[in-house]
Amino acid sequence: MTTQEWKFTAKDIANKPDLFLSGHRACAGCGPAAVLRLIMKATRGPTIVTQATGCMEIVGSIYPYTSWGLPWLHTAFENAAANASGIDAALKALERKGKVKEHIDIIALAGDGGTYDIGIQALSGAVERGHDFLFVLYDNEGYMNTGIQRSGGTPTGAATTTTPAGSKIPGKLEKKKPITEIMLAHDMEYVATATPYYWKDMMTKVRRGLEVNGPAFLHIFAPCPRGWRTEPAKTMEYSKLSVESCVFPVWEAVNGNRQLSTPSKLIALAPQKKKSVTDYLAGQGRFRHLFTPQNKHIIDEMQRFTDERWERLLLKCEKA
């Protein structure tokens, strides 16, 4: 990985033409749409984007319209990383024959369903084979495109249409799968987490991921007003709260050496600034049923679990 210096300023971003263009059909306040617009501005040169089936694939490519200013490929749901593998193999072969003359970056995009669940096999395989691509997971914690169903990325307690808040079962009982730990276990050169409220941090991580000569993984936490039952105007607020409550700490690991990124580092340095899980959950319709006496223990359990994961993360970062 090169250590090239660059800065993303608001002015730079405003001046760079959009590559994920307006006119797409995402909902008001869509977190993932904001993410795509920003991260496409962090590309560094010729780039091919490939995407798994999902909200962000659908909203930007309704024939005969497109929101993509880059060459873009969608083939199916479970195979964004396999698409990237094929593109990478083709570019290498064509370069060898002199038919491709410049380096082309590859970004694979998938939601939590296309990463945690149906896409994990293709992802793991592509990373093991060392293809040169950046995999960006935009995590809105559910199958929102099909109408808000539970995924392996849905957090404990959340009500979805397949884990409804019933009188006996109060939403999803299981924990959110630790996807970044799984990716780190692949001995990847670059794994990081980000969320769009901290846009400079997120864009910087996209660029670092692209600079890696091999596979890189970026987990972006992207609130979904429709699926989370939150106000569209509060998307960035929840993005911020997820970090402040340590529900979604931001960090990056270069060759396995993990460092907290500034927003989370500030909380580590001043623990009194850490917000409670309740602060994050309040106002999210998907957790509304937890704010009752009989379900309060679930929030307590979530707080305990969040603290535990945070403490573990601090230890892992200290070791680095």
């Binding site: 010729p46 698409n83 072969a93």
Partner: protein
Amino acid sequence: MKAKQETIPLNGDEAVALAVKQCDVDVVAAYPITPQTIIVEKYSEYVANGEVQTEFVCTESEHSAMTACLAAAVTGARTFTASASAGLALMHEMLFVTSGFRAPVVMAVANRALSAPLNIHGDQSDSMAERDSGWIHVYAENAQEAYDNIIQAFKIGEDIDVSLPVIVGLDGFTISHTLENVNVLDDQSIKQFIGERPFVMVTTQEGKTVPFKLDPANPMTLGPNALPNYYFEFKRQQEEGMRNALRKIQEVNSEYAKISGRNYGNGLIDAYELDDAEIAIVCVGSVAGTLKVIVDELRQEGMKVGVLRLRTFRPFPLEELRNALKEVKALAVMDKSMSFGGFGGAVFSEVRSALYEVNQRPTIVNYIFGLGGRDTNPHELRKIFEDLARIAKTGRAEMSVQYLGLRE
């Protein structure tokens, strides 16, 4: 101009691997499965020894293998994969996507039974189950033809008017693992024959004419979602590619005959002693070899018998089949797969339907045979002709669908 040829002993899988090597393929993405495995093993040796420039991707599943081939093809690469049985079934979703993209991926299928029960041996259940996936399906009779068909498949599938993926079927073990003397063309002749991969040209918003592929210089959105207002037209265009393939397969068969001295009927059907035949058998794949020997024997005995091998099953050669069989009085169709709950096998259904509008259509019966690698011997095949002779005389068949070589 005739190519230089060399005769070397190869099994069907090795012959396929050699053909792929000679076709200067850019990307091979594959996953091992019996009885296809020798193809990828052999190809891996070419890669390891620097005999090819191919990027070889050992994917973690057949689903990813087909995905990677498709993605590589739309990035501009000539691509190949091989599979069989469960592997092909796992690709099912991506087969439709690949044909929908009009991506000319070539795939060898070493035809094998489907589970359950698990069985690694040869039958055609796997590719017959994919007959509606939008791929061109060409079946070989022997290792020589498997070799020849791979070379032709690139030229057919990559043709601009066709632009479709091609499955080259070779019967598992019977062809894939059986050593034959194969006449191999020289590299240069093959290179000239198939040429560089052509691309469909499209006009950009700026009015530039550019190749249809992923290219940062000319960004295109590939694989959009088409709603009910457009989807149907895409599918109709795909069918047009299939219609064009009927012509292209015949052209390529003739052109290839010029350099190799070998042709396979007209490319669509391989008619053997059919001109004056009163009874005939329609089949797909290697069983045609044995049937032709029996036809020779029966002709010696004075019987007017013939064989029609469907070399191309998709697109289905309707007119050619009708013309070839219009004088036949009794016809047997052999299926090496089942269509559970249907009326006979897939080939039977198609052939019977094709002959419906023939004025004096023959009495048609179906023989399902060889499932899970069950051996089919010449004696059994001879018996079919004997049954047909009886049917031709009476014009009546007692059983429309029968199972050959089955314990019942």
